[in-house]
Symmetry: C2
């Protein structure tokens, strides 16, 4: 058994309404899992190694349910279009470059280094349709000690020549080979990643469904993000009763295999019902939805309905890997939605967005996103002393402030599954 | 004559539609003013001192048209209420503390240091109703080399006991004494600052109007920010044809004395017409308007109408002193407004928000907010090398990226009126 403790100003989400803080408290790790949070270190563990981080904040590692690694090079650029034009103008030309493994290595190295030094411990990542580059990304993520899922993207129609896979069969075969090649990775696992309905033919979806059953894979994709996209899906899948149903008819919409759908800005009652029944996770990406003028997802409604939900940065339609920024935007956008769209749905609170960024998204990984007993020991130590104040602040206030002002804070240490990675 | 040059990756706004960039260009300063931007240093100045900042970005100093210095201690905290409740719960209790000059010095020292190290060179600042603390703030701002206007706030009704000035007469007298006490300050000047109509009696407004005429003072206040506030002003000033008219009837609404009105989220046609006629500046504060769930100001409409406009951070209803964040939020909120409210008004562009944060707001100070000939030499040198990319970016792209990712950038040097302040 390997046991150790870390000590500091502890802060985690108990539930959607409550943040628990313990001043100068302890979290004890045993074989990669937390065995509890304590105000004083229990006698029986008095001899274990303990790293005391003093006045630093200790929070659970943040969970990014939706991020596109190959889009990192153009983050913060070219967000003057809506989804489909933005894909064609900015995204696809950049993603084409990843057929060149050397370019991919250069670009992914920057992404990985920034992800490592962020407060994110686990992420669900889109790669490109290129198996080699995607595998390299996974290997390096694992090597760096990060955890998560990475998907080789599938796209066999409505895509530029340089990105469009040769056929449904070729796309599925490349995907299967990539799944097999990733068999030695433990913390970074493959996730089935049909880009979205417009770029995936019926045959491809059927083949992916076969792969999902064969390898029992989780899945990630996009759903009901943009009005033109939704119209296009209706044309492409006239039989489907809603956008979500166009995945469901292939069996690719949750159920036995955990599934994340990014955005859900315009999910209607039927889609919501279907997602609840199938346990599909919503990756709420507020900054992306503002940057591409998609709209504001009804996150309050999804929480009230008890849907599974977490936050996504959605780089590069979101500009930053920071989940603190995503939390701030989730609150801000929910306030604008309350003001401009629907006053029956109260804005999100600090408690709620912190829950989404930790336990909410963490549920996709089993027991992740908390410091409580039984959770994976994913913890982030944050130095916020550059954010100065004239009066003393509580640990809860420091967390709230960090959500809005994380640019002035620094991740000092990070643990994933009990291993210190920075 | 004192002449020198700085060299770097230069970037400034020519007009609302155009950003000009000059790679490794020069800006020449003569006695505190720019005498031009050049691709190569003209022969006649070949001997002057030149600081070469290499690959660093050089932009005009940013202009913050609306910020509350005493609210800095609770930035990023307690934004779960609308305007009036937020004022009573968070703002007024904090501002009361500034009657204690020692507290004020401690708190303002942090504000000043962060402002100094930000990309902002000029700001229009609200103090509190306390003359001593406000004067101390002004003296320290001037001492640090910063420029701008600072206002001792006036409030003689609907305010908590600890902040409510004794009478209109006492408020006006304290204001006059403060104006006289500031006579030795040059770069940081007094600005008349009635908080807003709800806290200023008719008699106080009349007395302030008298002071404005006597001392030829600029003015700043709040306008049409929140729906409940607007209703309240209607009750308090039944004769006024709109909120703006409730200032105008005292002669306190632009004209000969430059005036800034923060927010203007709900200004109607008549208010707009009145502001245009009187040359009143709009301080557009998009983050504040989201945080307090006020709404989204129709910035596009104001630009189309040719109104004077700049950006404000509005700390602490805005969380950060960063005008880059304000620029990003201005774009993002304009996209949400386009999507959710009015598709006839296109979202703001990078060119437009950079204009607002420089020349747009700078016009309040005469010739400020550009590097072009004849403008005050206010320049900021920015180190953005932590924002890495896999491919080379143009200077224009680096500026765009900085707007979204300024948390990873650092102000390396700053010049105000030709004097290097950091």
């Amino acid at each position: 058994m390997e046991r150790f403790a870390i000590r500091g100003q502890i802060c985690y989400s108990e539930n959607q309404k409550t943040i628990r803080t313990i001043e100068h408290g302890y979290v004890v790790c045993e074989d990669g899992k937390s065995i509890g949070v304590f105000e004083t270190l229990p006698e029986k563990w008095s001899g274990i190694p303990c790293h005391d981080y003093g006045d630093r904040l200790i929070i659970p590692g943040l969970i990014d349910l939706h991020v596109h690694a190959p889009q990192y090079p153009f983050r913060g650029l070219g967000m003057d279009q809506e989804l489909i034009d933005w894909l064609n103008t900015h995204t696809f030309p950049e993603e084409e470059k990843y057929q060149d493994l050397e370019y991919a290595k250069k670009a992914y190295t920057i992404f990985l280094d920034d992800l490592l030094h962020s407060a994110t411990t686990r992420a669900c990542v889109f790669g490109t349709c290129h198996p080699d580059a995607t595998l390299w990304l996974m290997e390096q993520m694992e090597e760096a000690g990060l955890a998560g899922y990475v998907g080789k993207v599938n796209m066999d129609r409505n895509s530029p020549e340089g990105l469009c896979e040769e056929s449904a069969k070729a796309s599925a075969e490349a995907t299967e080979n990539w799944i097999l090649a990733a068999k030695n990775l433990f913390n970074v696992r493959p996730i089935l990643t049909p880009r979205f309905i417009p770029t995936c033919s019926d045959e491809l979806m059927e083949r992916l469904s076969g792969l999902q059953k064969k390898y029992n894979l989780p899945m990630q994709s996009h759903l009901s993000e943009n009005l033109s996209e939704i119209d296009w899906v209706k044309e492409l899948q006239p039989k489907a009763t809603c956008y979500g149903d166009s995945y469901r008819i292939y069996g690719l919409f949750g159920g036995d295999c955990p599934t994340i759908m990014a955005h859900c800005v315009y999910s209607g009652e039927e889609e919501i019902r279907m997602m609840k029944e199938q346990g599909v996770f919503v990756a709420h990406c507020p900054e992306s939805n503002a940057n591409l003028a998609s709209g504001i997802a009804p996150a309050r409604k999804y929480m009230e309905q008890g849907m599974q939900m977490g936050l996504g940065t959605d780089v590069a339609a979101g500009s930053s890997l920071s989940l603190f920024r995503a939390m701030a935007m989730a609150i801000q956008c929910s306030k604008l939605r309350w003001r401009l769209v629907d006053q029956s749905q109260a804005p999100l609170t600090v408690e709620e967005v912190f829950y989404l960024a930790t336990k909410g998204g963490g549920a996709f990984f089993g027991k992740a996103g908390s410091l409580e007993e039984g959770y994976e020991f994913d913890a982030v130590v944050i130095d916020d002393q550059k954010i100065r104040h004239a009066r003393p602040l509580s640990v809860r206030e420091r967390l709230e402030r960090l959500i809005y002002l994380d640019g002035d804070a620094r991740v000092e240490a990070k643990y994933i599954k009990g291993k210190q990675v920075i």
